[in-house]
């Protein structure tokens, strides 16, 4: 790498525009920041050698230069913005409404939205946010963040570290804020410096050359907030690993005890009770709203649960010994946490029967007088039931979730949502069975010559509570990333880096100043500091230039 030695003795890296130490413009590099075209120096990044502005030969250089451009960064943001909007035209696949007649995406989009829906589906926009191209887009933004930051941070850091109070006169006179005073007494200088100190400027004095600086830390704000964003993006990447992120779902019926999925069989949950509370219809606060809506509003979903941990890792197949970990209720907005896992109340169903009570009556009895009743536990029916009057009921077939498919009876699931039975009914003192089929709204006598009939007298239903099981070790990364981002934004946005240079020039001084934003504030600082001295106030050379241009236009 070619080093550039300045007349002040400082050795600058190749591509430097303004000497890191004294600020003297490096002759051959003035085109880089456009200084050759204007009277004032471009002070962005302090005229340091940025890789992206220095090399453009190899493919690596070209890639680096591409991503380090703010223009490219903004374009990527705009593309991501438009793409994200595209995905909200119709619901994403996971948000296809429950009331849809058919939730198969291949059918849903066309049926609900017509041709545009079909195109939406065919372009894969129904899964946009997990599509490869959207991920690549976000990744490109991530790369741009990293390269932009490194390209600027490293040289800027070097320049601010190597800067000396003694500046080249060209540097000073080509600052936006500049003034020259012919004679300044020591007393006036001391007064000036004391006042700057009062305004919390840090003063560096080198043989009478003075640099007053404050809030340098605000220059790091953009890089800090970019680091925060990069951490968030990395956390999102980590979240894709099953080790750090667990997402599972479990349905537990009331009274049931069940292993919690995703915990390697280490934990069990018992659902003691599920509670669905409603708002009081007569609550005067909400009466008007509920009447208008025409429905009672739900107030609370709650599962009272006990969590157990398996104590013995014992023999396979043997009943595990359980130890109670916690007994608590899980509500929406109040998830239950234990040993790194979190359980969320996220659904419920009330479509399962817990038990059913049947009665037996004579087929020819018009009043259907009961000859005996039996209650069957639908989660674990027994093989046979003895009725009071000597009738014996044998469960021949049990379909918890009955359907008739191609003329064949079948159970769609093992859950008692639509229970149906085939009973062998043995009349008192008889070994000859009558076959009866009983279900909800069905009572079929296969042969048509049964003496007894069965009817449903009563039933109970129970709730099934749906709980999400989560273990997410990536959350702290997101929190840290977001916090760093906020700190960085505030750090960079609400403070300004201000520098004032005062170099002796014969009997007098040259005074110049620079800030990255809020020039008005900087001018005020200087005005205050030079009050009651003969030091000339700095002139805003940019505003003067603008006025001259205006006058030219008028002429």
């Amino acid at each position: 790498m070619d080093k550039l030695k300045c007349e002040c003795g400082h050795v600058n890296p190749e591509g430097t525009v303004l000497c890191e130490s004294c600020g003297k413009p490096v002759e051959e590099n003035q085109h880089i920041d456009g200084n050759d075209q204007s009277k004032l120096l471009n002070m962005r990044y302090d005229g340091t050698a940025r890789r992206s502005q220095t090399y453009n030969r190899s493919i690596v250089d070209k890639t680096w230069n591409f991503f380090s451009s703010v223009k490219v960064g903004v374009w990527l943001i705009v593309i991501a913005l438009l793409a994200s909007g595209l995905g909200t035209i119709y619901p994403q696949e996971m948000y296809i409404p429950a009331e849809a007649e058919n939730r198969d995406p291949a059918i849903f989009y066309e049926d609900w939205y017509g041709l545009t829906g079909k195109i939406y589906y065919q372009l894969g926009l129904h899964n946009l946010y997990s599509s490869w191209w959207y991920m690549i887009l976000i990744a490109l933004i991530g790369i741009s963040l990293v390269i932009c930051s490194i390209d600027r941070f490293v040289p800027l850091y070097r320049a601010l570290k190597n800067q000396r109070p003694k500046r080249h006169s060209i540097f000073l006179s080509r600052q936006r804020l500049f003034s020259e005073t012919k004679t300044v007494t020591d007393k006036e200088m001391n007064h000036f410096i004391t006042n700057l100190k009062k305004q919390r400027y840090k003063i560096v004095n080198e043989n009478g050359n003075i640099l007053a600086e404050k809030n340098r830390f605000s220059r790091w704000g953009p890089y800090v907030n970019h680091i925060g964003l990069i951490i968030v993006l990395l956390a999102a990447l980590l979240r894709m690993t099953p080790f750090l992120f667990l997402d599972d779902y479990v349905w537990v019926r009331e009274g049931e005890q069940k292993v919690i999925p995703g915990t390697h069989g280490d934990y069990y949950i018992e659902n003691k009770r599920f509670l669905l509370e409603l708002y009081d219809e007569n609550d005067e606060r909400f009466q008007a709203a509920m009447e208008k809506k025409g429905e009672i509003v739900h107030k609370n979903y709650q599962t009272d649960a006990i969590i157990y941990k398996v104590k013995n890792e014992g023999v396979v197949g043997s009943e595990p010994e359980l130890e109670k970990v916690i007994e608590s209720s899980i509500q929406m907005n109040k998830p239950l946490k234990f040993d790194g896992y979190t359980l969320y109340q996220s659904g419920y169903q009330q479509n399962e029967f817990s038990n059913m009570t049947f009665k037996v009556y004579r087929t020819d009895d018009e009043n259907q007088n009961s000859l005996g009743e039996v209650t069957i536990d639908l989660t674990s029916p027994e093989k046979t039931y003895e009725l009071d009057n000597g009738i014996r009921l044998q469960v021949s077939q049990y379909y918890p979730d009955y359907v008739l498919e191609n003329g064949e009876p079948r159970s769609v699931s093992k859950f008692p949502r639509n229970p149906a039975f085939v009973f062998n009914l043995f009349p008192p003192d008889s070994s000859e069975a009558e076959i009866s089929f009983v279900g909800i709204g069905k009572n079929i006598d296969a042969m048509g010559e049964n003496e007894y009939k069965l009817g449903i007298v009563d039933f109970n239903m129970h709730y099934v509570s749906g709980l999400t099981v989560r273990r997410d070790y990536t959350l702290p990364f997101f929190i840290v990333g977001a916090a760093i981002f906020m700190i960085g934004v505030i750090q960079g946005m609400y403070w300004q880096h201000r520098r004032i240079w005062v170099n002796p020039n014969g009997e007098g001084i040259m005074l110049a100043a620079h800030t990255n934003k809020n020039w008005f504030g900087l001018k005020k600082d200087i005005e205050k500091a030079i009050a009651n001295t003969n030091i000339h106030m700095v002139i805003d050379q940019e505003e003067i230039e603008k006025e001259i241009e205006k006058d030219k236009d008028k002429a």
Partner: protein, 409 residues
């Protein structure tokens, strides 16, 4: 309780009226011959009234909170009203920094349009569904709303900048674009005016129509589909469903039926509302044109002669500089924390979430373009206007048309 509730609604009504009067005084202050740095008496009265109006609206907010038992930001009426209030608060703060009366002349009417828009939604206090029962309701919503209020000030400043600087002597892309923005604001007025008008008349018409998907789905086992559906109209139906039959007597028959490709839920009714807003907006705009006999932008321009455009540009930037971090905090970070607690995931690509991200992306681009590429003045102002359009899109279109988990209207 009823007493307190009526105090609450009266306070909101008073706030609206006071804002209206304050606007008149802001208008008077701007016609003062003096320059914008020397404040006339009317300027002081105007800001005083604004503060009184704000206190009235704060009274509405607090009393409603007491009656309902939860922060009144839980449905569309409450949220949008609060947005109007946030805009006024942000304006008051910015006013005391920059003392620019012209800002009030635009901020208050826009705030009033927002409040009028809110009153279109049912204003009854609604009970909180389980997912909303959390302290994060007010932490999240209030921060978001405040940030949007501050960002709305940047829109107001941007709009002032554009009206002041865009050359009105020629018909250009810029002057037409600016006029369209003003017309869009008038459409919002039209929407509020027509909805409130028909609401006061209790307009109610039911139209029965044939469910287009019935034949296809009637045999699906899960389908809960009826051959005939009924659409309830709260405004006279200009656009009706396909082959609709009017059930209510003595009501206007639909003039046209909805085009076949628009199939969304309640599409005919929604399109009808849009047509009414445009229709009544155009009438209002037409009347204005007849009175002023030039483009609205061209008419306002001379009033802003004394406004210092650099100060206006500074306000645009400052509001984004305050609004952007606040929005990040409320709209993304607090939102994510609550979503994690309530819905077990901090991010789920729900339309509202996506549009919050889009808003964030947009203002991030705004700041990069301004700080890094030197987009000041006019460019910056156009961006501020677009940013506000995105915010309004997220409140209006996402809630009413795209509707996801956040549709609590």
């Amino acid at each position: 309780m009823d007493n307190l509730l009526s105090i609450s609604s009266t306070a909101l009504y008073i706030a609206f009226i006071v804002y209206l009067i304050a606007t008149v005084f802001f208008g008077a202050s701007i016609r003062d011959k003096r320059t914008s740095t020397k404040k006339g008496i009317s300027g002081s009265i105007a800001i005083g009234l604004t503060i009184i109006g704000f206190i009235a609206q704060l009274t509405y907010f607090i009393t409603r909170w007491i009656v309902g038992g939860h922060a009144p930001v839980s449905n569309m009426f409450e949220f949008v009203t609060f947005l109007g209030m946030s805009l006024v608060l942000a304006f008051i703060i910015i006013y005391f920094i920059y003392r620019l009366t012209a800002l009030g002349l635009f901020a208050l009417p826009i705030s009033m349009i927002i409040i009028a828009y809110a009153s279109v939604f049912p204003s009854d206090i609604s009970p909180l569904v389980p997912s909303l029962q959390s302290h994060w309701l007010f932490i999240h919503v209030i921060t978001v709303s405040l940030s949007q209020g501050v960002l709305a000030v940047s829109f107001v400043a941007g709009l002032i900048y554009l009206i002041k600087t865009v050359d009105q002597s020629v018909i250009s892309l810029k002057s037409i674009g600016l006029e369209l923005i003003l017309i869009a604001l008038i459409f919002l007025v039209g929407f509020a005016a027509s909805s409130i008008g028909f609401q006061l008349n209790d307009y109610h018409a039911e139209i029965q129509y044939h469910e287009p998907n019935y034949e296809k789905f009637k045999d699906e086992p899960k389908a809960n589909i009826k051959p005939e559906e009924i659409e309830v109209y709260k405004m006279p139906a200009i656009v009706g469903p396909k082959d609709g039959v009017m059930l209510t007597e003595n009501k206007m028959e639909p003039l046209i039926s909805i085009p076949g490709w628009m199939k969304g839920k309640d599409a005919p009714r929604k399109l009808n509302t849009v047509v009414w807003s445009v229709f009544s907006g155009l009438i209002i705009y037409g009347v204005i044109l007849l009175l002023i006999r030039k483009r609205l932008g061209a008419w306002i321009q001379p009033f802003l002669k004394n406004v210092n455009k650099n100060v206006v540009d500074e306000i645009t930037y400052r509001s984004v500089a305050i609004g952007f971090p606040l929005f990040t905090l409320g709209g993304l970070i607090f939102a994510a924390i609550w979503a994690q607690i309530a819905w077990d995931r901090f991010w789920g690509w729900d339309p509202k979430e996506v549009w919050a991200l889009i808003t964030w992306f947009f203002y991030a681009a705004f700041l990069h373009l301004r700080l890094s590429r030197g987009w000041h003045g006019e460019k910056s102002s156009w961006l501020a206007v677009v940013g506000f359009a995105i915010i309004m899109f997220n409140i209006i279109v996402v809630n009413l048309v795209l509707a996801g988990l956040h549709s609590y209207a």
